[in-house]
């Protein structure tokens, strides 16, 4: 997903956030769907979106911030061009996920919750993709790969 640059179009982005939040405000429990929709659109939930969402939903900024920070899959910084989610949970551990994690971090030169300097890849931990019969598993954006050896991972990273 391409992420718009902050700056000149900040006003445009605020209007967009306001419009998205407005679409979900009327729904019961609409805050989570609104936050998802904002992240789907912008790639992340920028800090400037918090006051806008708060005013649309008529709740405090602290509440909006509290919800965003509670959930691991909401992010407040722009992701790289692709996001690599590496499964760290037990069924993947049983098939070499720890070694895969080490390899990945070394190869990309970043840790979890970080993005490569060229902004190609963001690396995130994830705890089970339901692919546990063909572990270890990773997800790139929204496509899951199974039986991922370090070599297979390198090949997948080359592709994009």
């Amino acid at each position: 997903m391409s992420t718009k640059k902050a700056g000149s179009d900040t006003g445009v982005r605020e209007a967009l956030v306001s419009r998205i939040a407005g679409r979900h405000f009327g729904r019961p429990g609409g805050l989570l769907p609104a936050l998802h929709a904002i992240q789907d659109e912008l790639g992340h939930i920028p800090p400037e979106a918090v006051p806008t969402v708060a005013s649309v939903f008529n709740i405090s900024r602290a509440e909006v911030h509290g919800v965003i920070s509670f959930y691991h899959l909401f992010r407040t910084t722009p992701p790289g061009r692709r996001t690599l989610y590496l499964c760290r949970a037990e069924a993947c551990q049983a098939m070499g996920a720890r070694a895969l994690e080490k390899h990945t971090k070394q190869r990309l030169g970043i840790g979890f919750h970080e993005t490569t300097a060229d902004r190609r890849i963001s690396l995130e931990p994830i705890y089970c993709l339901g692919n546990c019969a063909c572990s270890p598993a990773v997800m790139i954006d929204d496509f899951v790969y199974g039986r991922v050896t370090p070599e297979r991972l390198d090949a997948l990273l080359e592709e994009g």
Binding site: G29, L32, C92, M95, G130, C134
Partner: protein, 514 residues
């Protein structure tokens, strides 16, 4: 008249795709075009024989023949071997229904999974779909709940609470608005039955929820679906639209004059939101912090209204119970564990996959006869049963039958039915450490034993492993586990110590200075 097109089935489920099913489907279409063969590729669900994925099938004279695992590079050779006429090939598995892994199962809840096109309502109906709801609309609320109670169905999300009793509580609770919520957060590592059925037979989840709605007088349902399952989210949403268009959801369900609406709500990656009160908070758009109980969600649940919270598999088991009757279902199983269990074989296992089978089979049978031992070919050292809060089961315990009570006897848990297998290269000290680390990452923060205890747990284990006062810290670790078990508000902090204690008890040689 032109010859009828050959029907070739290539699964569209996440795991099949993760192993290359999309490429295989494309290669088959291209190869067929190149050879002038008339082929229809059907993207079915997965049969759940995951070590054989991508497993393709071809229909000949009404019998489906399987080949797998197939890679795109195998496709030309399969055509050469005449696979369209079930020709012999090294990847040939014979008639699918005769593959012993499948033939030995009792597929009730998963009756259609892998057979049908998940999003074809016609296919669903042609295979017994919506017979349960058709029966339910003829019955009173009490009668529906009576059948579910008699079937012996207990919640498949982990706590194994009798489903009929839960529904009756909701029925009897006061409230103008009631809700049915489906817990599709499936956070336990080693489990994928919810994902599989949502991707491969979404209408059965919808039908089960609709029956639940009729039974308690709820007109609105939510599926709380984990964000880690993007494909399941798409399939469920598509199926809901189709059911609405067919009058199977909406203001007048199946011309019954009764309403039931359904919506998918995407979760956002917090394990604790699988706990039911936390899930309800999240559905309300809040932080997923645990609620004190009482009141039970059945009495004061979503937005304060009486609410059914059931696991996906629980709800997906309801249609067949209504269609075939309570006895048919309860004839499977043993003791107080009635019906079928959907075992999910995962981790270091040669033949990983979904096994739906009556309760009561010994764990060993699943690991050895179905699973075929480890993928690495090395001995099994430990099996984590029941997810990240479940004990590590030692090989000396493998004769235990898979039933809720028998597992509880030795401190084990069936939970959602996941079995994660480890070979003898596993470092059980690291596994104990991860149990605490996971609890620390996922704690909702409401109570101290869990929030602080889990962080301390990681530190204490690190000290043990690094040789810093090993004896003293081992005592401290036991103590900390006791405190968390006794003092935590919910089962995350209350059970995260179980895997740790099982390592202390059964694999003590790994929890010491190195």
């Amino acid at each position: 008249m032109a010859a009828e097109a050959h029907r070739v089935f290539v699964p569209r489920d996440t795991t099949a795709r993760s192993m290359g099913a999309d490429g295989v489907a494309a290669a088959i279409a291209a190869e067929a075009a190149g050879r002038g063969e008339s082929v229809t590729v059907v993207r079915n669900g997965s049969r759940g024989l995951y070590w054989l994925e991508p497993m393709i099938e071809v229909e000949c004279d009404g019998v489906r023949h399987a080949y797998g695992p197939v890679q795109s590079s195998d496709v030309a050779a399969l055509f050469d071997a005449g696979f369209l006429a079930a020709g012999e090939h090294a990847l040939g598995l014979g008639p699918t229904e005769e593959i012993s892994y499948l033939a030995r199962q009792s597929r009730l809840t998963f009756a259609r999974v892998g057979i049908t096109d998940p999003l074809s309502l016609d296919d669903y109906r042609a295979h017994g779909g919506y017979e349960g709801l058709a029966r339910a609309v003829e019955l009173s609320r009490e009668e529906i709940i009576g059948i579910v109670t008699e079937s012996g169905l207990r919640g498949r999300g982990g706590a194994a609470f009798p489903t009929g009793i839960k529904w009756r509580t909701v029925l009897n609770a006061e409230g103008a608005q009631k809700y049915v919520t489906c817990n599709a957060d499936e956070g336990d590592s080693g489990t994928y039955a919810d994902r599989m059925i949502m991707e491969s037979d979404p209408f059965v989840v919808i039908e089960g929820m609709t029956i639940a709605g009729l039974a308690v007088g709820a007109t609105m349902g939510y599926i709380y679906l984990r964000a880690e399952y993007p494909l399941a989210i798409r399939v469920m949403n598509d199926a809901i639209r189709t059911a609405e268009a067919a009058g199977l959801l909406g203001d007048d369900v199946m011309d019954s004059g009764r309403a039931f609406h359904l919506e998918v709500r995407e979760a956002a990656g917090a394990y604790i939101c699988g706990e039911e009160t936390s899930m309800l908070e999240s559905l309300e758009g809040k932080r997923g912090v645990i609620r004190y109980r009482p009141p039970l969600p059945a009495i004061k649940g979503l937005f304060g209204a009486p609410t059914i919270v059931n696991n996906v598999i629980t709800l997906a088991s309801v249609p067949i119970i209504l269609a075939e009757g309570a006895e048919h279902y309860r004839d499977y199983g043993t003791g107080r564990s009635r019906g079928t269990l959907t075992v999910q074989l995962a981790g270091n296992i040669k033949q990983g996959g979904l096994v739906e089978i009556g309760f009561g089979h010994p764990l060993r049978e699943l690991l050895e006869d179905f699973g075929g031992g480890t993928a690495s070919g090395r001995p099994i050292r430990a099996v984590q049963a029941g997810g990240p809060l479940g004990a590590y089961v030692h090989p000396s315990q493998f004769d235990a039958p898979l039933d809720y009570e028998a597992f509880a006897e030795f401190g084990g848990m069936i939970g959602h039915g996941g079995l994660v297998v480890f070979d003898d290269t596993v470092d059980m000290g690291e596994q104990a450490r991860f149990a605490m680390e996971f609890c620390a990452i996922e704690s909702c923060g409401k109570c101290t034993p869990c929030r602080i205890g889990a962080v301390r747990g990681v530190e204490v284990i690190d000290r043990i492993l690094s040789g810093d006062d090993e004896a003293g810290n081992l005592l401290l670790l036991r103590d900390l586990c006791d405190t968390m078990v006794a003092g935590s508000l919910c089962a995350l902090g209350g059970m995260a110590p179980f895997p740790v204690i099982s390592v202390l008890d059964h694999f003590p040689e790994d929890l010491r200075a190195r």
